[in-house]
Symmetry: C2
Subunit: 678 residues, 2 copies
């Protein structure tokens, strides 16, 4: 029944439509019927509880936003309400066991997924729900209400996480994300791996210690410790990011944090899958085995790249469909198609044995990068709003469920040593990847990641929905139960304490706030402010600018010259970028609008001027720097040799920046539209 509940509807027969069964042994069936009805009613009640919780959360958030209270985020609030309801359910409801006492039946060796039970001549069909460890059989008979509010953990992966993750991918702030792509990838991949490994090893030490002092009552393997490392390495700084968004904090820091958290969720999922896949052959199943290790690495690479491909492919298909049909005349159809295609990514990945959630993330990014440009104005807002609502509901649902789970989950194992050890381990694990990695990245970055930024990233290592979902996925054994309880406490602590301390931390670290995301560095000092005192802004400003690795620049010019023109209505016409022998294909693939855009641009040639601020961004390290005279947008582009050479780089900056501006590079001439912040 948890499953039904999890799916939000508790299937059953409330209206009663069982006419056909009336004919014989009516009384007996009536009892079954009533039981099913009762169960359906209870499901509805439990789900209603969650909906009321969410409603309450929404109203309180409104009150908080209204009064500008920032120390508690909506997710933290949802957890608190969940906790309260959990306490009430736990201690306030009578234990109604016995009424549904299960019937035991022995069977020989084989396990079936479907059972037929013959009850006095009538056949009933049963389906397999899962194994119960022998010690836990009495649990089945426990408090009905507590069972009702317990979900099948797969609900999180199949219903609640996909919209959250898709929304994250779909709303990545593109310019700043791509600018910092190298660093983000490093933090997400290397960082998560380092963090996982360090936490895993530290926890193995803790487990050894527990065994020494006799606090460990069951098995706890090294792979379990590594799994814990993977689970707890999924950061989710939703609280911090919400405050960043509200205060318009530094956009590069935002991009680093958001990008890292989005990608490291994907890495953590796949990492935990590959750790589970690590199964040494032979007798000693928990010793190191090179073959099994490489198999795990292979699983990691396979699942990750497969999921990535799935997501990218469905995104590309959606882009092509929206480009070559005129669906944009019918926003409803367009939105429905967009939704279905994005959902099919998930199913496709799951059907192929990859990870749906990861595929959905990359699908979201692809949709935002290509498909979004093809959508009608109405569909853009529709899709954004649709996924925003789904994301909001799903996220708050998970967090309120977490609050509830602290009291209603029936297999908690709280071990003080393990919990303290875990807190220390996650602190060390995060420190051990943020600082060294930032140091290494700063060697290559033109705009260094400042110490204050590193401290903020260290601080913003909150754990949230993903860690919880990974931890609750398997709570069958002693070690997993202990891991789950500990994860829950870590999420609570980080969301409440760390999340609540974000605003003071921002001002303490002198992170600038009030930044206009479309324009940096700002033309004058009055467009932004530092919370307390105004530190050496100009210095930091210069240090945190974009990095463009050669690999990325290569990808960018490919994307800009070929992918964008093929998949969207923007970019240069393929007839100019493709070799001449591809003429026919190029003409077919290039959308007529591109020529229109180009025509338009040519006519307005004389008006093109460049914003000084933008010049400073693009040539932060060259001789051409803006003199900072605010409000003057009159530096005309007298295209000298230096500039013409770096035209693709300039186009990069602009194209990433604002989707509305069409930047076209034809041959050696570069055309810039007027910046709109005049």
């Amino acid at each position: 029944m948890e499953l039904l509940l999890g799916l939000g509807l508790g299937l059953g027969r409330a209206g009663g439509l069982r006419a056909g069964e009336r004919s014989s042994s009516a009384l007996e069936e009536l009892a079954t019927e009533q039981e099913a009805e009762e169960s359906h009613r209870q499901d509805s009640v439990s789900l209603l509880t969650f909906i009321l919780l969410l409603t309450l959360t929404i109203l309180t958030i409104w009150l908080f936003k209204h009064r500008r209270v920032r120390f508690l985020h909506e997710t933290g609030l949802a957890m608190i309400y969940g906790l309260i309801v959990g306490v009430i359910l736990r201690y306030g409801t009578p234990s109604t066991s016995g009424h549904d006492k299960p019937f035991s039946c022995s069977q020989e060796n084989r396990l079936f997924t479907t059972l037929l039970i013959n009850v006095s001549g009538k056949f009933f069909e049963y389906t397999l729900k899962g194994e119960i460890s022998p010690g836990k059989i009495h649990n089945v008979e426990q408090n009905d209400m507590l069972r009702k509010v317990t979900f099948d953990p797969e609900v999180f992966f199949n219903i609640l996480l996909p919209p959250i993750i898709f929304h994250a991918g779909y709303s990545l702030k593109k310019r700043h994300f791509f600018r910092n792509l190298g660093s983000i990838l490093a933090y997400a991949f290397l960082g998560t791996a380092v963090s996982c490994f360090i936490i895993g090893n530290l926890m193995y030490g803790v487990v050894k210690l527990m065994k020494l002092v006799g606090q460990l009552s069951d098995k706890f393997y090294y792979t379990d410790c590594l799994l814990f490392g993977a689970i707890i390495s999924a950061t989710d700084p939703v609280t911090v990011l919400a405050i960043f968004n509200e205060l318009h904090a530094d956009v590069d820091l935002y991009a680093l944090l958001f990008g890292e958290s989005v990608l490291n969720d994907a890495v953590a999922i796949v990492l935990s899958s590959s750790i589970v896949a690590y199964q040494p052959t032979g007798e000693n199943t928990h010793a190191f085995d090179a073959a099994a290790f490489f198999k795990s690495v292979g699983v990691f690479l396979g699942i990750f790249s497969g999921s990535f491909m799935m997501g990218a492919v469905t995104g590309v298909v959606t882009a092509l469909v929206t480009k070559f049909t005129k669906l944009h005349c019918f926003p409803l159809l367009e939105t429905a198609l967009f939704f279905l295609m994005s959902w099919s990514t998930f199913l496709l990945a799951e059907a192929c044995g990859f990870t749906g959630v990861v595929a959905v993330l990359f699908c979201g990014i692809t949709q935002a990068h290509y498909t979004y440009n093809n959508l009608s104005v109405e569909s853009r807002s529709r899709t954004k709003q649709l996924f925003e609502v789904l994301h909001f509901l799903a996220e708050n649902f998970i967090f309120s469920y977490m609050g509830l789970a602290l009291f209603t989950f029936q297999k908690h194992i709280f071990s003080p040593i393990f919990i303290i050890g875990a807190f220390i381990a996650i602190f060390l694990g995060r420190a051990a990847h943020i600082y060294p990695l930032s140091f290494l990245l700063n060697l290559g970055r033109r705009h260094k990641i400042s110490w204050n930024f590193q401290h903020m990233m260290m601080f913003a290592g909150l754990r949230g929905a993903m860690a919880f979902a990974l931890a609750i996925r398997d709570t069958a054994t002693y070690s997993h139960q202990m891991m789950f309880s500990t994860t829950l406490l870590i999420v609570f602590f980080t969301v409440w304490v760390v999340g609540g301390g974000t605003t003071p931390m921002l001002s303490w670290l002198n992170i600038r706030v009030g930044v206009d995301p479309d324009q940096d560095p700002p033309p004058s000092n009055d467009s932004f402010q530092v919370l307390q005192g105004d530190g050496p802004d100009s210095e930091r400003r210069n240090r945190t600018k974009q990095e463009s690795a050669w690999l990325f620049r290569l990808w960018y010019s490919f994307d800009h010259n070929y992918l964008k023109p093929i998949l969207t209505h923007s970019g240069p016409p393929l007839t100019t970028t493709l070799p001449s022998w591809c003429g026919l294909i190029a003409r077919c693939l290039t959308s007529p609008q591109v020529y229109d855009n180009q025509e338009q641009l040519r006519e307005e040639d004389s008006d093109f001027i460049l914003n000084d601020g933008d010049l400073a961004v693009t040539y932060g390290d060259t001789t051409i720097t803006a003199n900072g005279s605010s409000g003057s947008h009159t530096v005309t582009t007298s295209l000298d040799g230096r500039r013409t050479k770096s035209s693709s780089e300039e186009a990069l900056e602009h194209d990433l920046g604002t989707g509305d501006h069409e930047v076209t590079s034809r041959g050696t001439r570069l055309v810039f539209p007027l910046e709109d912040n005049a």
Copy 2:
């Protein structure tokens, strides 16, 4: 597994996270694990099939709309694609039975909802799925893929129908709906009851005939026939209404058809529940029993009024919450709250034993009538668009499932006599309520329902999603299987043939199209057109105008004077409508905006003019008729005694018409804003 599939996600472990179970008897568990994974994969594939079907439908609809093809509606198209896939699944996939052969186990008298099976020392939990009639046990072992694409029928009632029905309620064209409320209620309640009874009796005759010629191989009771009558009385002219909408056909006819179809869905659900509830006591369980009959009537009234109350109450609560908080500053929160509250209606009704779908309908109407006025502009479009997308997806999903079910449903019983009889019966059943009821209604209506309108209503008696959902809800017995197969054929026929014939029918019956819904009759002939030939328009125009029964007028003034001011920001201030001793409460409940509106209205007093077209609407049967001089909107309201008297009636018309116009009646003076079609 059908259930899982139905919920769209097929829960399982694709990534594999079952570390805890590795420890012992690994091989055996690996097999179970793999089976679960395989099952999850198959679920994903089946769901993917549906999504691809819907995607294909969307693209084809686009093509049809693009080329202005009107003979086939999107739902008809979805069915065709469903049919094709059904054929492929049925005849194209190998029958993979045996691999999941169920295990049988005898048990004494009592039935359990949970089973524990001991398989060589390990315990597995199974849950009850339902009874299988003894003759059908071999079905369980049939084609896996066919089983995969078969849903739990409750999915329709708990997931797919609620958004469809809510959307119907939320998008009722208010003015024309309320104008024709009396007739709509008569068609929906009396009409459906008459139709159900007539069809039921005719079908009983058909069944008797079948028994006579030896075509009936199992029991078929009178109550089964009545149930069929109830199921098939739920009309769903979605195809016709879509064409009406596109061609802007006569708004009153649209209101009659749409209102009838929306309400009669609710009536049909409750009616079928009460027929099932009819269980005579004593030996002869299928003879007439007065006590059981009155119990059924009681059940009908109880469920209907209970569901109505639930819907209205949650709607009112939402209205109050959105009125007294300033949630409209945060459209995301507002939309989420709106969605959650509307969903909670469904759960609340189900939890209390009422019918969720019916509650959702009335909740939708209440939300549209009150809450909608309190929402921010962004939330209005967000909520409309959200439910529009959900409705679109759910509807096309159901119709494509219908197409699929014709071939994949494994218990079809097609009986030619029954099918022909059913077609004749539904024709007679509809004729027997449309024409007599229209005659009776015309006695009371000021604006008669013309013969052509009656013919169109007769013609538009399509069957759709609701009839299908009711029929598939219980297919356990012979009679129900036959009813299901017949319903499916009736839906196909009506959607394709009748739906496709709508445009010719409209022109044949001279129904006017190209009508501006906000303004009727139009000021001049050039703003609308009749498809072929221009019949006696003015006559028909006068005949089809509003009726306002005294009961409805009573309700209206109560709603306008008390409910609207309490629940929304519009209407007259309560301080003027409530008796003076309620002063304090009135002041608390009246929103400050009402005074603002009023202030504004008073200042503009001198400008208020009435549109001649509107006068003609309101006083269609009085001496004040417009002279039809198009474009002249200069007939000023010199309020004479006659008009002042009927002020609430005028306010009614206007208020229902356009939500933007605030109409306030203070004492005996009436203030009209300028019509916006000037």
